[in-house]
């Protein structure tokens, strides 16, 4: 009887702990969550480790990391916050790289609207963009308007969304005629808009500073094999393929590593 109990106990125990499987907690900026879910799927298909995904704005995740949140890897929507974490000694040595470069687009829910023409002519009442104070896509949008010398004429008509998700929300609910969002968000719209339709304008990269999104491995994760495996995976060509397919660019120096 005793032996049987012991065997059952061991069997149950082994069910709970698959071989060499650890969990890595991945904190991602909300605008990357969609892509992170695809990365998670691909990672878990090829590894025994499991990913626990946490998402919030980069600013909130940053504040939580300062307060010792149990995160292993942080995918920020910008470069600034990872740099600050690095300066504060919270990052494992040399464990920071640019995992994606965001692409800015101008978009309208009105399929017949030529958004670029409309922007240049000022044919709209309201234009949404993310708040440049803390959203990198907001900085890019403001810079674009400045480079097109539209800043003055648009200023009073700008609606500053909390982030690009809200910017898209304002566009889709037609509370604004057009707005700046990330190219990656277009993939989440149903029905999927055709990339060459006139209500989408891929803003030329020369018009705004590159939206570099950095990943960091936190110092506390250095001994977690799952975190290290995910860190390598994020830099693999498999992961880069997923990120590119989600309409981000990858730094050219890193490709083909």
């Amino acid at each position: 009887m005793h032996v049987l109990r012991l065997i059952t106990f061991n069997l149950l125990l082994s069910l709970c702990l698959p071989l060499h499987s650890e969990t890595v907690t991945l904190a991602v900026a909300s605008n990357f969550k969609h892509t992170a879910l695809q990365l998670k799927k691909s990672f878990e298909e090829t590894h025994t480790h499991r990913i626990r995904l946490v998402s919030a704005s980069s600013g909130k995740l940053y504040a939580q990391i300062l307060q010792k949140a149990p995160f292993d890897i942080f995918l920020s929507a910008d470069q600034h916050k990872p740099q600050r974490l690095q300066q504060q000694g919270l990052i494992a040595d040399k464990r920071r790289f640019t995992y994606a470069i965001g692409q800015l687009v101008l978009f309208s829910a009105d399929k017949e609207l030529d958004v670029k023409h409309c922007l240049m002519q000022g044919c709209y009442k309201k234009l949404a963009l993310a708040n440049a104070q803390h959203a990198p896509y907001g900085v890019a949008a403001e810079q674009t308007l400045k480079n097109l010398t539209l800043k003055k004429s648009t200023n009073k008509r700008l609606i500053r969304a909390e982030n690009i998700n809200q910017s898209l929300q304002f566009i889709l609910s037609k509370n604004v005629e057009l707005g700046f969002i990330a190219a990656s968000q277009l993939k989440q719209i149903k029905p999927l808009p055709a990339p060459d339709s006139k209500n989408i304008w891929q803003v030329a990269e020369s018009l705004y500073p590159p939206i570099l999104q950095d990943a960091v491995l936190l110092k506390t994760a250095e001994t977690n094999p799952a975190a290290l495996a995910l860190w390598d995976f994020l830099q693999s060509s498999a992961a880069q393929g997923i990120i590119k397919a989600a309409s981000y660019h990858i730094p050219s120096a890193d490709t083909g590593q």
Partner: protein
Amino acid sequence: MLLSQEDLQAIWLTLKLASLVTVLLLIIATPIAWWLSQTHSPLKPFISAIVALPLVLPPTVLGFYLLLVMGPEGFIGQITNSLGLGLLPFTFAGLVFASLFYSLPFVVQPIQNAMLAMGKRPLEVAATLRASPIDQFFNVVLPLCKPGFISAAILGFAHTVGEFGVILMIGGNIPGETRVASVQIYDHVESLNYANAHALSLVLLVFSFIVLSAVYSLNRNIKPSIAGL
């Protein structure tokens, strides 16, 4: 001084919004509370439930639906558009409108409780002395239910000052128009300006503490059961 011009503007806007909403809500909530406290109508539970609904919905969810309803394709958006008022999202008027919903239960319920606690007797006595209904309302109901009205005003004001989720959804963060103190604090936190966030939060906290203590000490004799708290 750690407060910037924009912080001061946000505080001023918050006070303007909360005061206006409180006054409007006292006017709107009084007849609702009166009806709810007197009626035996089978509709009463449903109206009570509608009044209490904003307590249930998370503010950002409430804000999201207000954004849709007040937008160009929404029911309210089409009304305001056809009246030539334009659309409510991203305007101060829109914030006032949304706050009326958001803070309604906090104003109706204390008044309703005070009216229930008063009971029918004082009005019956007033009626035998030939007081007209209007006379009864101003000279009997208002004085007897004063603590309830004060509680309602405090709760309505405080709740609107602390409003965040709804405004975040429909405001569009426009300085001097929709960027209230709570949103400004949030922006400071999101852009890692923690010192500014602390300063503004502290000012808001101290101010609210002073106002609340002042009102409560002026009304030290309020019976909690009547005050609805």
